[in-house]
Subunit: 306 residues, 2 copies
Amino acid sequence: FEFTLMVVGESGLGKSTLVNSLFLADLYSDRKIPDAKGNGHHANGTVGVVGNGYRPTTGARNGPELTSQQLLEKFHKNVKISAKTVEIEERGVKLRLTVVDTPGFGDAINNEDSFQSIVKYIDDQFEKFFHGERGLNRRNITDSRVHCCFYFISPFGRGLKPLDIQFMRQLHQKVNIVPVISRADALTKKEVDDLKKQIRREINDEGIKVYTLPEVDEDEDQEYKEEVRQMKEAMPFAVAGSTTSIEAKGKKLRGRVYPWGVVEIENPEHSDFIKLRNMLITHMQDLQEVTQEVHYENYRLQKLAE
Amino acid sequence: FEFTLMVVGESGLGKSTLVNSLFLADLYSDRKIPDAKGNGHHANGTVGVVGNGYRPTTGARNGPELTSQQLLEKFHKNVKISAKTVEIEERGVKLRLTVVDTPGFGDAINNEDSFQSIVKYIDDQFEKFFHGERGLNRRNITDSRVHCCFYFISPFGRGLKPLDIQFMRQLHQKVNIVPVISRADALTKKEVDDLKKQIRREINDEGIKVYTLPEVDEDEDQEYKEEVRQMKEAMPFAVAGSTTSIEAKGKKLRGRVYPWGVVEIENPEHSDFIKLRNMLITHMQDLQEVTQEVHYENYRLQKLAE
Ligand SMILES: Nc1nc2c(ncn2[C@@H]2O[C@H](COP(=O)(O)OP(=O)(O)O)[C@@H](O)[C@H]2O)c(=O)[nH]1
Ligand SMILES: Nc1nc2c(ncn2[C@@H]2O[C@H](COP(=O)(O)OP(=O)(O)O)[C@@H](O)[C@H]2O)c(=O)[nH]1
């Protein structure tokens, strides 16, 4: 089973922690974390350089004679795309999971074109598949298309930010977007509910089509139907992630220890982490089918029309 | 006693809550809160329009023929400056406090010139004072100069963001900057300590001069010397603010109630709120003197040199 998951959001929203928590795998152990100067620090402490890092504006200040088009071209180099593949066993099924990371998104002073290299990456995978299925060896095409994109929303906003709306409008016809309220342990229960309502309203008003769960088959058992109903009601999921194990209530749990209490990420009263995890696992196949039949199909028809 | 405090930082970092908590006054009750579409919602629910709101980019997309200079001019209209004055009594002293708010800072997709209208506002106050003290009626000049600027840093960063560094470099020679790690209840104790160290290191490396507490007079009592020493050690302050009263430990406290515990903003184990408040009150006069003798003096000498 091959699956490609893309993660998008500003730095520090807990993307790598969440992905590692979801699959209990350390997909990010060798990652370079750029500091504000654009120097990449390896997780082990050594320093490396990371592309344009965080200072695209230094290029743009070279003089007022740049056209806005040239400015924009310089800026859209901020977002690096990096894909990592791991073999995981999930509920007895061997899964070849590719995680596509997009460091730099939303982190610069000017994020006008944050979405561009992401759109290009998605289209490139469609292009590869398009050529593959028209070629001689179509039984052996690798499917590198992005099946799902977790879009991380800051818990501090009053709803979606302009950057969030811009991203989703540019990408909702290209990939299954699953918006996630990140680091939701920064919010009280009421704040989570209000923020979810506000985001749902804005997604509706902006005509954004995020990934929606399909209707449950009539012949599924009642328990599963109820589980899916609760998932739908909880979206967008408000998650807290952690790779730290702590001792609480006499058992080992994953969580975060504050002076005033302990957040248990798997406790549904504290976080939608388990709902998100179950949603992803039970709907992996649907996410692939929608990618093939809707997003890729759009691309294919556009290519044929050209 | 007249004092002007400016607050700067992205929307949602708790600026108005902190200011209201500091002075137990509701300085923001009639504020318009723009949503991502740029519609302003009054705190009482009615809708009003707020300037360019959050969509300056729509103007910029009118065509590629804009020069980068024109683009920049359009963008720097995002930050509105609004000043509100209240009369407060603080420890028996009547205080005429003006709070200068800067909504829109850091909220757009392109924040290239977020600092510009702020620099202009500060210079305008210097200009007013400059003319005032050279005029006939110099005994009655109103001092509207900004004495202190709280700069709110997101607790999610790995240190300072490029926007934070840009702002502080543009403003540190014009106003006393007090950087504050906002909504610090999103961080564990260790994360707070690490972030403080990282920010102090970056402020040093970038040559940024934030407001520093003056040496304590030798003849001050030991208790006060110790209090100031602890303040210095704790900077940049990591604060949580709240205007919600809660019952805890049998008394009324200000805090935030989570499913896993209660943050008490006045508890030094939970937040540097009390340190920040005490620092501001005990150093109000020093903040004014530094403004007069350093920041305004720079401005005055530059004006005379022209
Ligand atoms: N409070 C809280 N902190 C988190 C959460 N997820 C990650 N973190 C912490 O936030 C910091 C940044 O996390 P990271 O996963 O590296 O963020 P990324 O830059 O989006 O990949 C780390 O110190 C994590 O321990 C969360 O759900 N809640
Ligand atoms: N967790 C937490 N929430 C806060 C804190 N301060 C304010 N808030 C909440 O954050 C939201 C935005 O606060 P507000 O003061 O309006 O932010 P502003 O946009 O920066 O003025 C409100 O729901 C506040 O209750 C804090 O220190 N910690």
